[in-house]
Symmetry: C2
Amino acid sequence: MERIDSVNNPKIKAWSKLNRKKERDRTGLFCVEGEHLVQEALRAGIVERILSVDDTFSSDEVPFTEVSAAVLAKLSANVSAPSVMAVCRMEPLHPVEKNRLLILDGVQDPGNLGTLIRTAMSFQYDAVYCSPETCDFYNEKVIRSTQGALFHIPLIRTDLSKLCRDLQKEGVTVIATTLQEAVSLRKLIHPERHALILGNEGSGVSPQLQEAADQRVRIEMKGFESLNVAVAGGIMMYELTVSSN
Amino acid sequence: MERIDSVNNPKIKAWSKLNRKKERDRTGLFCVEGEHLVQEALRAGIVERILSVDDTFSSDEVPFTEVSAAVLAKLSANVSAPSVMAVCRMEPLHPVEKNRLLILDGVQDPGNLGTLIRTAMSFQYDAVYCSPETCDFYNEKVIRSTQGALFHIPLIRTDLSKLCRDLQKEGVTVIATTLQEAVSLRKLIHPERHALILGNEGSGVSPQLQEAADQRVRIEMKGFESLNVAVAGGIMMYELTVSSN
């Protein structure tokens, strides 16, 4: 069994660079932290190597390196380092079906992006599409907020205008969320196949996509009229899922 | 007009300590950052002093100090400092009505707590009650996640077992969320007056409160079965609000 104690070990230096998007994109690798996420990554079959302070996760199936706490502190993106991490391969999944899709138009906050991916998975959405400027999927905070869901649901970064046109041709109803003039969510007639668009935290869904959408919908509120995008997305996915059962 | 350039100025040193809970509790003061939150605090009438790099926020009504960017960087809890901050007084609000209440049993993450307060405000809940171990209301990340809602909705830290007993005596139906055996949310008969309990991110609602509740409810999901507590809370408040209209 390999053991590395020094933070200056060349392998550790290389893996620590995976905290940067550029290096993740170059190598096709990323790190996950903590027992739960390592287990979800193992379940998804994408683990390249496990690194841990003890041999709990040592097995014949996946390469394992025992490391010092200092090494994990160096690799971790968090202030308090975990006791186990895994170096994983990016293995994009492809949508098998396109019955219920989530489309994210410029979501910036890693916590919001991760939470939306987690919620989409929980309501059995078929895929999550994101505009090119949406924050990186493999950011540590995104991964943590997904609770591992991002290993199991297809995530695609693409041009959303073209996507919406293509989906509409395939018979998928495109629904944009808005705070302006729109059908209230409870009154929305639920289409058999839909793609739900949520927008940027500050500016919402872009005017072009609102225009292109088949339906515009808003959540009924009084007073403060302010919901976090991950909460709004959760409410809409719930409504579109549970009511269509 | 007062102007302070030095980070070593005694007033600045004193205000910078407001990043610590202990100092906030001792003085009854806390800071808010950025234009939107300063405006919400002004609207609530709790601003003690505004600090800004320019005189945009200068007025006759609220004391104002022009400061250097270095001073704001010293006072800010964020990596990128805002251009305006306000020192505010804690002025607890008291619930006028108790028809729709949110109860948080040990929510730990400041972002989740803030988002739940924001959502409660948007769905016109009357108050948010928290167990003693719930994270501090005046943590910078909590305030930011509320988007200012915490200035406008009563927030009370209290013993939840006693609270639930008292509410039940007053005719309020106490509903606990759970992943175990429970009524599914869509099938819940909506009580006229309710208190919704959400639990800790890891362990959920404590067994004692689940036991004490009049109803136990869960959100219908298949598969991944994992929702962030702020998303779950949003879905439940939506369902309990919109359907009872």
